[in-house]
Symmetry: C2
Subunit: 346 residues, 2 copies
DNA sequence: CTGAAAGCGCTAACAG
DNA sequence: CTGTTAGCGCTTTCAG
C-alpha cells in the first residue's frame, strides 16, 4: 500500500515521463500512441519509465489537440428493460477492436430528457451517435444534423431518419402477428400493454396489429394497460382482470414478453387450455421465455444484430461502404412456440 | 431538414458566438456557465446568439482549462444481470442534481478487463470512481490509489478497501441464510450456482453458507453448477438434475434469484411439496420474483441503496461528512416468502 | 460588470 | 528516427 515511488497525487504529465527517461515529450507521445517510427531502444526506455511512474495519458488534452475522440454516444430509453442491454452487447462487440468506446446515456423514454443527455454528450465531441427511435425534439434533430458525425437511429424504421437507421418495422411486426393469429383461427382478441405514451415502438406495433385485424374485419375486443411495478406480476394481474371482464377472449397479445410470461403463468394456473382455448403471444424474443413452463409465442426483435449493425456503421465498417444515410431494415421472425395453435389450412 | 442558418459542419466555438453578438469570448463564457455577474442585457444577447447558432460548448477544452471534469466512472461486471442496472439507477438518482454524470464501463467479471476499462476511463480524468467488488489487479489498485479522486468499491465489504466501500457482507448473507434454513428444520441441503470463479460475491456467499451449516455439523449434500444460457431455464434443468441424483434433498439454495425461480417452476410442475417437503431460496430480491406462482425466499441485496450511498460519497454529500475512507455496511434482510417453512420453535 | 493575456497537456506539422 | 514550434477551445487570473 505504501509506495515509495515518487508519484504526485494527481496527474502525471508527458513531461514527467520525458524527464524521467531523457527523451523528448514528442517522442514519448509517439511511443505511447504507437505512432511513427521510434528506435526499439528509446521505445523500451520510454515504456519502462511510463510504467514505473504509473503514467496515465490525459485524453482530454489529447482529444483537444488531435480533434479526435474515440467515444461513441449511445442513448437508450432504459436499462431495466432487458432489451436495451442486449442492444448494447451488440454495440460493444462490434466496436471491440475499432478503438471506439461506447458511452451510454439513458433517456427514460422522454424526448426532453434525451435532448439534455444528447447535449451533454455531444459537448464531449464523440465520433458518432447511436440512439433509439426516430422521435426526437426539434432541438435534438438540429444538434444531430449539425454535429457532423455519423448518427444512427436504431430499433425502428417506421419514420424519417436523420442519417442512418437500423431496425425493424414495428408496424409490420404488429401486422404479421395479427395475420398469424387470424390464420390460426382466433377471433376474439385482447391486447395488453404498458401505459407508455412515449414508447413509440409499442404504439406502432399496436397500430400495425389493429390494421392487420381490420383487414379481415376484426377489432380488438378488449384492452388492458399497466404502468410501473414488476412486469411479470402485472402481466399476471392484467390477464386475470381482462379474462374476468371478458371470458370469451380466445387470444391475448401482450406488448412485451415479460407481461406475456406473467399472462402465461396465470393462464396455466387458472387451468385455461393454452393454446386450444386461448392463445398467447408476446414480443421481443427474450431469453427468459426459455425457462417458462411453455414457450410463449413471440417475435424476435433482432436486438443484438441491430446493435452490431449500428456500431459498424458508426465505425465506418459497414459492408455497404456507404458513408451515412444507410437504411437497414431487419426482419423479425415469428417464433410460434407453444401458445398459438397451428394455422388452419384449407 | 435543409436549414438555412449558417452553421458550420462541425464545432462552433465561443469565438463564433462572441462575434455573432459582439461580446467578448470571456463574457460569453461567463453567461453560458452562469458564473460571475453579467448585465441582464448582454446576458440576453449572448443567450440568444448561442441558441440561434446552435452552439454546443466543447467540454474537452473546458475540462482541460479548468482541470475539472464532471464525470464519475462506474465499472460493473455485467449489464445482463439485472442487479447492476438497479445499482446504476441508485447512482443516477443520487447524482441527479450534483452536476456529476455517471459513465459506465463493463468488466465482464474479469479483473484484466476491468483494468483496461479503468485505464481508459481514468485517462478522461473523472472526478470519482465507483466500481464493483474489492478484488482488482495490482495495477488497478495502483491507478486508483494514485488518481487522487474518491474511489468507492461497492456491493461487497468482505475485504480490504482502497478508499471507501459501500455494500453488504456476502459471507454473512450466506451464513444467515444457512441459519434460517437450519432453524426451519431442513437438514439435507443442496447448493446450485453459476460456474463463475470470478464472481467473488457468489463465492463468498457460498463460503458463508458452508460455514453456517458447519456450525451445526451439516455439510452441503449436493451441488450443481451452470454456465451460460437462460438462467431461468438452467435453474429448472439443474433442479431436475440435482433432485434426480439426490431425491432426499429437503432444501435447495440457489446463488441467484433467476435460477431460483427456474427451480421453483420445476418443483411446482414436478408436484413437489414446497416448502413442506422441500424448501427453496435464492438471493438478490429481484423484482421478477413478484410475478412467480409463489414468492421465492430470498435476501435483498440493497442494490439501489448501495448505488445511492456510493454516489453520495463521490459527490462529497455523504452524511458522515468524511472525505473518503468511509465504510458503509448495509444489512440485507431475509425475505422468507413462501418457499421456506416457518422456523421451528422450542 | 467586462476584457486581455496566459496557459491547461497534448499532438500536427515541420524541420533536422 | 528525433526534436521544435504552434496551437486545439476554453477558463483562470488579473486589470480595467
Amino acid at each position: 500500500m505504501t509506495d515509495d515511488s515518487p508519484v504526485p497525487p494527481r496527474g502525471l504529465t508527458l513531461r514527467d515521463v520525458s524527464e524521467a527517461c531523457g527523451v523528448s515529450e514528442m517522442t514519448v507521445s509517439r511511443v505511447l500512441r504507437d505512432r511513427g517510427d521510434v528506435s526499439p531502444a528509446t521505445r523500451a526506455r520510454v515504456l519502462e519509465a511510463a510504467k514505473r511512474l504509473g503514467y496515465v495519458p490525459n485524453k482530454i488534452a489529447g482529444a483537444l489537440a488531435s480533434q479526435r475522440v474515440n467515444l461513441v454516444t449511445v442513448i437508450i430509453p432504459s436499462l431495466s428493460n432487458m432489451v436495451f442491454p442486449e442492444v448494447l452487447g451488440g454495440i460493444s462487440a462490434a466496436l471491440e477492436d475499432t478503438g471506439l468506446q461506447p458511452v451510454v446515456g439513458v433517456s427514460h423514454y422522454a424526448a426532453e430528457r434525451e435532448e439534455a443527455v444528447l447535449y451533454e454528450m455531444l459537448s464531449w465531441r464523440p465520433s458518432g451517435v447511436i440512439l433509439a427511435g426516430l422521435e426526437h425534439t426539434q432541438a435534438s434533430r438540429r444538434m444531430l444534423e449539425n454535429a457532423g458525425i455519423p448518427v444512427v437511429e436504431i430499433m425502428d424504421v417506421d419514420g424519417e431518419a436523420i442519417d442512418s437507421v437500423v431496425g425493424i418495422s414495428h408496424q409490420r411486426a404488429g401486422r404479421e402477428m395479427a395475420d398469424a393469429i387470424v390464420a390460426a383461427g382466433y377471433r376474439r382478441i385482447g391486447f395488453l400493454g404498458s401505459k407508455m405514451p412515449h414508447d413509440h415502438r409499442a404504439r406502432k406495433r399496436l397500430e400495425g396489429f389493429r390494421e392487420g385485424l381490420a383487414r379481415v374485419g376484426i377489432e380488438i375486443a378488449a384492452t388492458e394497460f399497466y404502468s410501473g411495478g414488476s412486469a411479470l406480476a402485472k402481466g399476471r394481474q392484467m390477464t386475470e382482470a381482462i379474462l374476468a371482464r371478458d371470458p370469451d377472449l380466445d387470444f391475448l397479445y401482450f406488448s412485451n414478453d415479460m407481461i406475456g410470461a406473467g399472462g402465461l403463468l396465470h393462464c396455466l394456473e387458472a387451468g385455461h387450455d393454452v393454446p386450444g382455448g386461448i392463445g398467447l403471444a408476446g414480443f421481443n424474443g427474450l431469453e427468459i421465455l426459455e425457462g417458462m413452463p411453455r414457450r410463449l409465442a413471440t417475435m424476435d426483435a433482432c436486438r443484438r444484430e441491430i446493435g452490431e449493425r449500428a456500431a459498424r456503421i458508426v465505425a465506418g465498417r459497414s459492408p455497404s461502404g456507404l458513408i451515412g444515410g444507410e437504411r437497414v431494415e431487419l426482419a423479425p421472425v415469428l417464433q410460434p412456440g407453444d401458445t398459438i395453435r397451428p394455422a388452419r389450412t384449407g
